[in-house]
Symmetry: C2
Subunit: 222 residues, 2 copies
C-alpha cells in the first residue's frame, strides 16, 4: 500500500494529500514526529522533513515539490500542473508563491508560533512574529482574492496544483483559527469552493492533540 509520512498541520503534507486524493490514488498516512529525528526515517529522507511518499512501485519520494511533479508524471490521468507551457509556468509560479513567499511571510510566523511550537513542546508563541504574520496575511489574502476574482481558479480556467498549494497553507492556518476571512470576500468564496471537494474531507476531519479548531473550520457553508 502507498504510504505518506506526514504531519497533520504541515501545509506541504496537506498539499500532497489533496493531490493524491484528487488523482484517486489510495494511500495510508503515518504521522512522523520529525523533531524526534528517527533513524529509519532519516534513511528515507536525510533532510528529515515531511512529506515523504513511499509509492507502491518501491520509489521513495521526498520534498513536496518533487512529490507533486512525480505524481503528475507517473499518474497523468488527472493533470494538475496545466497542459500548455504557459499554463504550466503560471501553475508553478503560484505554487512557489505559496510554498516560498506565503510560507515565508505568513505560515512560518503564525503556524510556527501557534501550532508547531506547541506540538513539539518548544514554549510560548512570540507575539512579534504573530504581528508580522497577521500583517502579511492581509496583503496575501487580497492578492489571492484578486486572482480568484479575475480567473475561475487561481492559475486560470482549470483547477490546479496552485489551488491546492494555497488551500493547504490556508487550511492549516484556518485550523489554528488564524484566518480573518472578512479581509477578502472573493478569497473566502474561493476557499468555500475548494473545501467542498471530496479530497478535502479527510483534512477537515483531522484533529490534533490540544488544539480545537474554530467552529467554521469544517463547515462547508461558513
Amino acid at each position: 500500500m502507498r504510504l505518506l509520512y506526514h504531519l497533520p498541520h504541515s501545509p506541504f503534507s496537506r498539499k500532497v494529500r489533496l493531490v493524491l486524493a484528487e488523482k484517486r490514488l489510495p494511500f495510508e498516512l503515518r504521522v512522523e514526529k520529525t523533531w524526534e529525528r528517527r533513524e529509519e526515517f532519516l534513511e528515507l529522507n536525510p533532510a528529515g522533513t515531511v512529506p515523504v511518499l513511499a509509492d507502491e512501485n518501491g520509489l521513495i519520494i521526498s520534498e513536496s515539490a518533487a512529490i507533486c511533479e512525480y505524481l503528475d508524471e507517473a499518474y497523468p490521468d488527472v493533470p494538475l500542473i496545466g497542459r500548455t507551457l504557459a499554463e504550466r509556468v503560471e501553475v508553478r509560479r503560484l505554487v512557489s508563491w505559496f510554498d516560498l513567499k506565503f510560507n515565508h511571510d505568513v505560515t512560518r510566523h503564525l503556524l510556527g508560533e501557534k501550532i508547531m511550537k506547541r506540538v513539539a513542546g518548544r514554549g510560548q508563541p512570540d507575539t512579534g512574529a504573530l504581528r508580522v504574520g497577521y500583517a502579511n496575511l492581509k496583503g496575501h489574502l487580497e492578492y489571492l482574492g484578486y486572482l480568484a476574482e479575475s480567473r475561475k481558479w487561481l492559475a486560470g480556467g482549470t483547477l490546479s496544483l496552485a489551488d491546492f498549494a494555497a488551500a493547504a497553507h490556508l487550511s492549516a492556518l484556518d485550523f489554528a483559527g488564524e484566518v480573518d476571512w472578512s479581509i477578502s470576500a472573493p478569497a473566502k468564496e474561493w476557499y468555500a469552493r475548494i473545501k467542498s471537494r471530496p479530497s478535502f474531507r479527510p483534512i477537515l476531519a483531522d484533529r490534533m492533540g490540544g488544539v480545537t479548531p474554530p467552529a467554521h473550520y469544517a463547515d462547508l457553508d461558513f
Copy 2:
C-alpha cells in the same frame, strides 16, 4: 532576444544562467536591483524576486524552479532533470535540498550577511548568523562530498540540475570567500570539475561593486 533579469550574487539567478548556457540558449542579462521595487518589474513578477526570464516566444517566467522546469520542457535537447521517474525524483530532491535546506542553513546566513547587506546598503554583518552559517556549511560540504564520492555526479551517473543548483550556491559563497574547501576533498574535486565547464565562465568573470573574490575563485585548478 531572450532576457534574464538577475542579480550577480543570487544563487537562484546563477542556477538559471548555468542551465541556459548548458542548453546553448543565448540570452542577455539585466541586473535588477530588487530592493528598489521597480514598478515595471513588479508587473512582470509580483513577488519582486529574481530570476525572471523573458523568453523569445513572449512568455515571462518567474521563480527559478518554474524557469528550470520550463526550460527542460521547452528545450529538451539537453535534458537536465533526468530521464526515468527514479532519476527525476532524485534530481528534484537534491534541487530542493540545495534551494531550500542549504539555502536556509547556510546561504541566507553567509551570503545574506556578507554580500546582500552590503549590496543593498543595509549595514554590517551579524556575527551570530555568520557562526551558524559556517557550522552548517561543514555538515553540508560533507554530505555533498559523500554524494560526489559515491556517484559520478550528485544525482547519479549524469550531470543534472542538482549539480547546477549546488554549484550556484557554492559559487556565490566562494565569491564571498566563505567556503573552506579543505573540509571535503571529494566536494572540492566535484566543484573543480563543474567550474571547468564553459557554462561557468561568465559566472567566474562576474565582479560586484566593492567585493573582491579570493584568488582561487576563478582558478580552474584551485
